[in-house]
Structures are given as C-alpha cells and as structure tokens.
C-alpha cells in the first residue's frame, strides 16, 4: 500500500495485536476499518461513533487542506473532526475502508496527550490515545 500523501511505501506497525499502516516519510497513519473494529472489540466497546454512516453524517470540516484519496479505493475522502480536547482533523473514506491521520496532526495530539489524562473522555478519544501511545516517538 502506498501513502496517500507522499506516495511512499507504508510500513505496518503492530502493537497489542492491532496493525496500523504508517508512512515513515511523512509520519501519516492509516487506520483500516477492520483493525479499528478489532481495537474497539478488544477495548470492549461497540462500534458506535465509528460506523461509516455515523462518520459520513458528520459535517465536512472547513479547512484548506488538500483532499486525500483513500489508499484502498482511491476515491476522495471526507475531512472530519473527531474527539474533544484534543480535536483531530482526519480523512474518512466514503466507502468505509478506514481513517487517515496526517503526520503533523498526530504529532499535535501526542503533545496534547502528554498534558492530559490518557484514555479519558469518549470512545473517539480512546482510539486517538491508542494511536498516540503507538506512535509516541513518531516525530
């Protein structure tokens, strides 16, 4: 799989049995929907908050950032904001293939997470803090 931002090869990072695709050049992260499902199940959470329908019902985030294409189906993804303190701007595939986190955004999240209590707040925050934990030394 190639990175949707820098087109470089993606490396697969496995932690706690969950696989996440990671672009070593631009630090971006692709979270496949199947793996997201596994993570939520292992946290004993249901999938609400992350189903394709729910994500697509969210308002398109206003941003000047370039549209990204889903690395699986190559269609343009939707810009969304998930989580509360930290808020993260992500790209979500319309067909529900997965979520994309830009390198810079994840870096911000990690810095914010260092100040706040990890795994507090909603389901989306727990997923974000899982990624923050996996990519602790990503910058």
């Amino acid at each position: 799989m190639d990175c949707p931002v820098c087109k470089g090869p993606m490396v697969i990072v496995e932690r706690s049995g969950i696989e996440v695709d990671y672009s070593p050049d631009c630090k971006g992260v692709w979270f496949d929907s199947g793996e997201l499902e596994l993570l939520l199940e292992s946290m004993e959470l249901d999938e609400t908050g992350f189903t394709t329908d729910e994500l697509m019902a969210l308002d398109e985030a206003r941003t000047n950032e370039k549209k990204r294409r889903c690395p699986i189906c190559r269609t343009k993804m939707k810009k969304l904001i998930i989580g509360k303190t930290p808020e993260v701007l992500i790209d979500a595939c319309h067909k529900g293939h997965g979520l994309w986190f830009d390198g810079g955004e994840l870096g911000q999240v990690i810095r914010q997470l260092l100040d706040t209590e990890p795994a507090s707040g909603g389901k989306q925050n727990r997923v974000i803090s899982f990624l923050g934990e996996v990519f602790k030394a990503s910058d």
Binding site: M1, V13, G17, E19, P24
Partner: protein, 392 residues
C-alpha cells in the same frame, strides 16, 4: 452469460459480413461459445484463483485452516487433498473450484477466516468439500454450456422466424387473402420464444444451483455432525458489509453465499444462485433429531411446508446419525484463539506472501517493511530505536 448474447451478435455480424449468411454466424457463435466453456472448464480454477488474488498456503502458514480442510477431506471420504487458498480481501466468502476431485481447490477470504471460530470454519469448509465431492463444479459448468446454447439458439431462431414472417408477409400482401393473420401469429410466437426461452433457461439454471446449495448444506451437516457450526457461520456471513469485488456472474454459483448481492430479498428468490441465508440457517437450526440427509430433509420440509429437497434414493438405508457437541466439549479441548489472534494469524500469512520483512523492535512493536522500502534501517515510531532491516 451476458457474454453469450454479445457473442451471438458478433458471430451474427461476422457471418453476415464475411459469408453473407446468418447460419454461418450461428455456427461460429456456437463454436466460440463452446471453446470458451472448454477453457473455463479446464483452466477455470486457475483463472478464478488468479482474478481473486488468492494465495496458495501450506500447513505451516496456517495450521488450523489446513487441518480443518484435512479433517473435512477425511469426513467426506475424498481421496485427494484439495489445494488451500486464502484470498486477500476483507470481504467474507469462500468457494470451491476444480473440474474433478483430483484437481480441486478450496479458497477462503481473509475476512471470513478471521471471523470464524473452529466449528464455524469446519462448517464452511465442509460445505465447500461437499461441492467438490458432489462434483457441482462440473455440473454447473455443463448447465452453463446448455444455458448459453439455449440463449444463442433462441436468439437465432426468433430472428429467422421474424425475417420469415416479414418476407412472408410481403408475399402474402401481393397474393391478397387471409395469410396475414398467420404471419402475425408466427411473429408473436417468435418474439415470445425470444423472450421466454432464455428466461426459462436462466430460471432452471438458478433452480439447479440453489438445489446444489441445499445439498451441500445437508452434506456439511452430515460430515461435521454439527449443523450449528455452519448455521452460525452463515449468520456471521449475512452480517458482513463488505462486498467481494472480484466476483462476477459466471463464478457466483461456487461461492458459499452469493457474492453479488448484499441484501437479502425474498422477491429475488427465483433469480438467485443461492437460497436466502436466513432460510438456510433456519433449516440447519431445525435439524434437532440428527445430522443425516434424512434429518436435513425433514427440517427442509418443516420450513417449506411439506416440500422435499432430496430424491428418495439418497434418503433410504440411512442409519440414525447423531449430532455431536461443540468442539469445546470434545476430548482434546483446544483453547479457541481470540479474534485478534485469528486476525494476526491470517494477516501474517498474507504479509509473508507479499514479501514484507519483519522487524521485531525491542520495545515489543512489530514492524513489517514492504519490499519497495528503500532504506536499510527504520526508526521505531513507538520507542524511537533505529532498527536495521534484515536481508531477505
């Protein structure tokens, strides 16, 4: 099958253009159709597995899957071990292919393999093994040849009759009289034939296909002695939201569930290669008495208000066959791997075959580097250690 129609058109045009004769075109179309089916018959498995991005696996790649296939091979009494494939897609499905038991293969998608426990996997593999044992691949390709031929012939016959009617009509107008009515009847018959014959052929094809599915379900129950395994696997399959993208009409009948249709519609019953999943589950779950064909037939009758799926010949002389307990209660109870473990087992096979290199970082993070990664080392994103990538 739509290809059959296009083929006829091409054959017809070629026939008219080069031989100025529609019959030559007919023969040409039939010959091409026949050759295509021969190719599909002899190389169909490799074509199918090729377009499905299937990876052939060995025992060590995925011991559980391989063992389950071996178990079902023994239970079905097949003489040859089929090849085992994993298809790299999150969609959930499985199929069997091969023109005879000696050259057979079973394939399962990574998505399905991850979701099923051992009993469910056994049910699915038993269903596929039954397709091999019952020679359904051969039967369905024969049916498809017949269906194609009927479509081609109906198209031609109607065309000829219409031309005949038009030409005849022209003549009868000159001579005057009541001949015109006869021409109209021929015209109507021709159009009716053109429309009805292919539809009828399709319906028969689908009916046979559905019957073979029921038979394979019955055989699976008999092989595993545990209808609940297949029933619960079908339940998981019916909840799947992913669509198998590489499936097409010609290959649909060999899958465990119809890969082309996502939702179940009872109205579409007649034009489907597979019976509705909910009904298949209901039949399997009502097999309270035992796991033989007789019990399946009884359960089928209960669900279908008295109808029967199997001929009397396959039901006589059957000894009572009892249903076993779930495998957790069996002699050598094996701890069932968790879903994450199953997912990793499956993806590990796929990474291996796509030539990803494994880097085990000291912090416990596993990195899998694709073959087109150019650098000789990689920084672990979790702990920041620089790891060297091993040479092949």
């Amino acid at each position: 099958m739509a290809m059959g129609g296009i083929l006829v058109l091409i054959g017809y045009l070629i026939g008219v253009a080069f031989f100025s004769n529609a019959y030559a075109g007919l023969i040409l179309a039939l010959v091409i159709w026949f050759i295509m089916n021969l190719v599909a018959y002899f190389a169909g498995d490799s074509i199918l597995l090729g377009i499905s991005k299937a990876k052939k696996i060995t025992h060590d790649d995925h011991p559980r899957l391989f063992n389950v296939v071996e178990e079902m091979k023994i239970a079905s009494g097949l003489e040859y071990m089929p090849s085992v494939y994993i298809i790299d897609t999150p969609a959930m499905n499985a199929f069997a292919t091969g023109r005879n038991p000696k050259n057979a293969s079973v394939a399962i998608t990574a998505g399905l393999l991850q979701k099923l426990n051992r009993d469910e996997l056994q049910g699915v593999i038993a269903h596929e093994m039954a397709h091999i044992k019952n020679r359904d691949v051969l039967l369905m390709s024969l049916c498809s040849v017949l269906l194609g031929t009927i479509v081609i012939l109906a198209w031609y016959a109607s065309r000829i009759m219409i031309y005949g009617a038009i030409l005849g009509g022209g003549r009868s107008r000159r001579s005057g009289g009541g001949g015109g009515q006869g021409q109209i009847i021929i015209f109507i018959v021709a159009i009716a034939l053109m429309i009805i014959a292919p539809i009828l052929a399709y319906l028969i094809y689908f009916a046979i296909s559905r019957k073979r599915e029921y038979l394979a379900d019955a055989s699976a129950a008999q092989y595993t002695r545990y209808p609940e395994g297949l029933a619960s696997a079908l339940e998981k399959l019916s909840q799947s939201t992913h669509k198998l993208e590489t499936a097409n009409n010609a290959t649909a009948s060999m899958f465990i569930i119809n890969p082309l249709k996502r939702s179940e519609r009872a109205a579409a019953d007649l034009s489907s290669t597979h019976p509705p999943i909910s009904e298949r589950i209901r039949i399997l779950r009502s097999m309270a008495g035992g796991a033989s064909f007789y019990d399946y037939n009884t359960a089928y009758s209960a669900v279908h208000s008295g109808k029967s799926v199997m001929g009397a010949a396959s039901l006589t002389g059957a000894a009572p066959v009892s249903i076993r307990g779930a495998s957790a209660a069996a002699v050598a109870a094996e701890p069932e791997p968790t879903r994450i473990e199953r997912a990793r087992e499956t993806s590990n096979v796929l990474w291996k075959y796509s030539k990803h290199k494994l880097v085990n970082c000291q912090c416990g993070t596993k990195l899998r580097v694709p073959p087109n990664y150019r650098h000789s080392n990689i920084k672990c994103p979790h702990c920041g250690r620089i790891n060297t990538i091993p040479h092949s």
